[in-house]
């Protein structure tokens, strides 16, 4: 036999268990979750001649506010930033569709040295959410 507790959303169960003990339902504090854009690099790790464009996609799922009245916030990639390993400055990549939920981004680079350079990339969304940093070493190819 299936227990009724397995079929109810947790928020309803919380109300049932509290019903006998409390007369005032506490107001849940809204929590905002926003993971920020997910970066996917699509440029091959080897760049012919060391000079070219690095590109990829940035996808934003939007955020959500917790609690019973939770809503989903608008998704949109605000900017994609990149940084060479060892540098301190983050530079802006060009977005094909700024403020949209999914966009292509790209920027041009010159890679020198026999082992190339590692580049870190991250995105921010229009709600202020910051995505994870993605790193990849790009090498000068023949």
């Amino acid at each position: 036999m299936t227990s009724i507790s397995k079929l109810l959303p947790l928020v309803v169960l919380a109300g049932i268990s509290a019903a006998g003990a409390q007369t005032v339902t506490p107001t849940p504090t809204p929590t905002v979750t926003d993971a920020g854009p997910v970066i996917t690099l699509t440029t091959p790790a080897s760049i012919p001649g060391g000079k070219g464009i690095i590109s990829g996609t940035a996808k934003d799922a939007g955020g959500s506010t917790g609690g019973t009245g939770g809503t989903t916030t608008t998704a949109g990639v605000k900017e994609v930033l990149y940084q060479f390993e060892g540098d301190t400055k983050w530079r802006k990549a060009k977005l094909a569709l700024p403020n949209k939920a999914e966009t292509t981004f790209f920027f041009d680079v010159k890679i020198n040295g026999s082992v190339g350079r590692r580049i870190f990339i991250r995105g921010t969304d229009i709600q202020g959410g910051e995505g994870d940093i993605v790193g990849r070493r790009f090498r000068k190819g023949s």
Binding site: P44, K89, K94, A96, G113, S114, V115, R118
Partner: protein, 403 residues
Amino acid sequence: MKLPAFARRRVAGIPLPSILIAAAVLIALRSVPPSSKKPAAPPTAAAPQDVSPSPDAPTGSPAALPVSPQPAPSDPKPASTEARRASLKAAIQEILSTLQGDARLESLSPLLAEWIELDAPAAAAWAAALPAGPFRSDAVGELLLHWAAADPEKAAAWLPGSGSLDPESASTLAGQWAVSDPAKAASWAASLSNPADRTAARAAIASSWAARDPLNAAAWAQSLDPSDFPAAATAVADAWARSAPARAAAWLASLSPDPNPALEAAAGTVVQHWTEQNPGAVSQWLNAMPDSPQKDSAASLFALAAAPVAPTDAMLWASSLADDTLRRDTVAGVCERWYDAAPDEFKAQIPAQLDLLEESALRHGIYEMLYEKDPEFRLTLLKIADGDIPPPGADSSDAPDAQ
């Protein structure tokens, strides 16, 4: 810590200490005679388990240098192999304990090539056992470059079960393999279950293939599923545009009669390479396009690519873009590239360019750019714009009365 002058010298972009260490190691390796009777190092026991942990992964366990199954007693060169193995272990340990960052990788690269030749599975196992982090990715990448050039099928068989398969390693292996056999590399890429790995591998194949045979590479890219097509098409466009940008542009235009945001990076790479080779042709191509977001985007890319060589033309293109945000970002981007390429020329000519910019937002974009790059000149430019001081080269009689 300040390094002595000789330690900061670079030759062909490589730090001098790295070159010296790598040279010493290679000399030591090659000094082992083929028939050396030097006692073999005990298998794995003498592995550098005392290797200094990488600062990239400070909490990881130091990796041991494994060995493949030992050769049978009838092998004619066991002592030589063991001696080389021992030298490699010592050399790698020395590098790991003394160098960091790119210098460490530069010095390791020839040793990994040597190790792959000697015992590829053991080298691969060592790299895969490194603590997770950027250094392991670097080491696996270097290893795959060498291994895929020598024996791509064995490298491809090893990677998926190694724990090191990710888009970076998939791209490195597939791209190197496609240099010699794009069809087999494509077949391997199709077998990858993770979409991100597969997309990265296919883009790398497209790039390597298109560098040698753009028509077949383009046809293959068009046969891919929609999730992998934009990355592969961008890689084809990039490779093709390096040798025949007008053909690459025509191919891209044939793919999508309407603006396709997923292919904007492809358009960007074509415009960039074409501008470097023949900016006049790009300008004509843009002028022949009907007004559209696609034209705006291409013109923005053209302006950015042309900025270092024809900055005033680039400023004209940038300031004529229809989209407000794109126009502001492109003007600022052109100025930044102009400044980077020729700062003195930029400082001399930008005041006159500012006069041509009617929108204050465009001028603010330039001031913002200078705020980080050259705050002193930014203040000077603001004074010039306010008429407090004359622009460079102006007749002093035009200057405001200082009384």
